[in-house]
Symmetry: C2
DNA sequence: TGAACTCGGACCAAATCGGTCCTGTTTCAA
DNA sequence: TTGAAACAGGACCGATTTGGTCCGAGTTCA
């Protein structure tokens, strides 16, 4: 249920890449595609999407390419991912237009709304600079609590976590 | 990226339903399907899955049906969902067998591993009794922080959250 | 003028998903 | 003992989604 689409993965990689080469000016699609081993055509679409989202600036013509339009530290994880995820919500109840197929008596909607808000809240503070230095990510942030938790082992490993 | 499968939704509804009728003995698939407006055939599969996961107990034969095998309070959200979600991880990197298609130099894996652990940690404490009383869910738990957050409005609403 | 780019629509094949159907097997009750 | 009621589960199907390709058009620089 947490999996992001392939395009989102490419987007995350691209932002990472461009952040590292920030001072090299622009980077072309072909260049980035080869460096990160991503199909050029689809990467082009991804970068277009990121540009539309305001995260990248494009330079057309020969010698052109893409560049981050902000420092990495000011780019949020959810911003990078959203253009390629049709919905960021947990159940179909609340996708949009309030169009819950289950009618007004859906017992799932209320708890799910809270759950959804809770999740987004967890991600709200996550910015892309965390992706550049995993070690820092591991030990320097509020996320360090996630590591070494007993419950974590239970949940990530195999079948029945809570018995 | 957070959306659960339809089967997971049905599973959550079923657990809710069975929890409310806990003292009525067993509930048949047909009964539950009609009450909650779910296709009977597929609900049957869902309940089978929940039984295999150890959450339900089945009574075969005439007058049979399903029953929670534990109090709701001891059933975790992730337990209910996992049988119907092939992977609970964020990127294909870490799905299983370490089979990352991108080779050893995948710059996504390390940060994503942390992110993934972080997410699961957030859900580890969430039990199904929270689904029975949305009001309690709203105000009585650690989740109340999610409501009314400014960042929440930004992230859930429209296009560009962080500008 | 032409090459190297970004842009973006059209299209396609494969996989996934939600759902149906159909055939057991087990159990209870008449 | 028999049959109905219920769980168990495999086979299948159609629609949607997804990852990916192809191609044409506009832009800019050398």
């Amino acid at each position: 249920m947490f999996k992001v689409s392939r395009k989102s993965e490419y987007a995350l990689i691209a932002i990472q890449h461009l952040a590292r080469r920030a001072r090299d000016g622009v980077t072309s699609v072909a260049e980035l595609a080869q460096a990160e081993n991503i199909p050029p055509d689809i990467l082009a679409k991804v970068l277009q999407g990121l540009k539309r989202a305001g995260l990248l600036t494009a330079a057309k013509g020969a010698g052109g390419g893409y560049r981050l339009s902000r420092p990495v530290k000011e780019i949020h994880f959810l911003e990078v991912v959203r253009p390629f995820e049709e919905q960021l919500c947990v159940v179909s109840c609340q996708n949009d237009h309030g169009g819950c197929e289950r009618g007004g008596d859906c017992t799932l909607r209320d708890p799910m709304t809270v759950l959804n808000a809770y999740m987004l809240r967890q991600f709200a503070d996550l910015t892309m600079d965390m992706f550049l230095s995993p070690h820092k990510l591991l030990h320097g942030t509020h996320m360090d609590v996630a590591i070494g938790e007993t419950s974590l082992g239970r949940l990530t490993s195999t079948a029945h976590p809570a018995d």
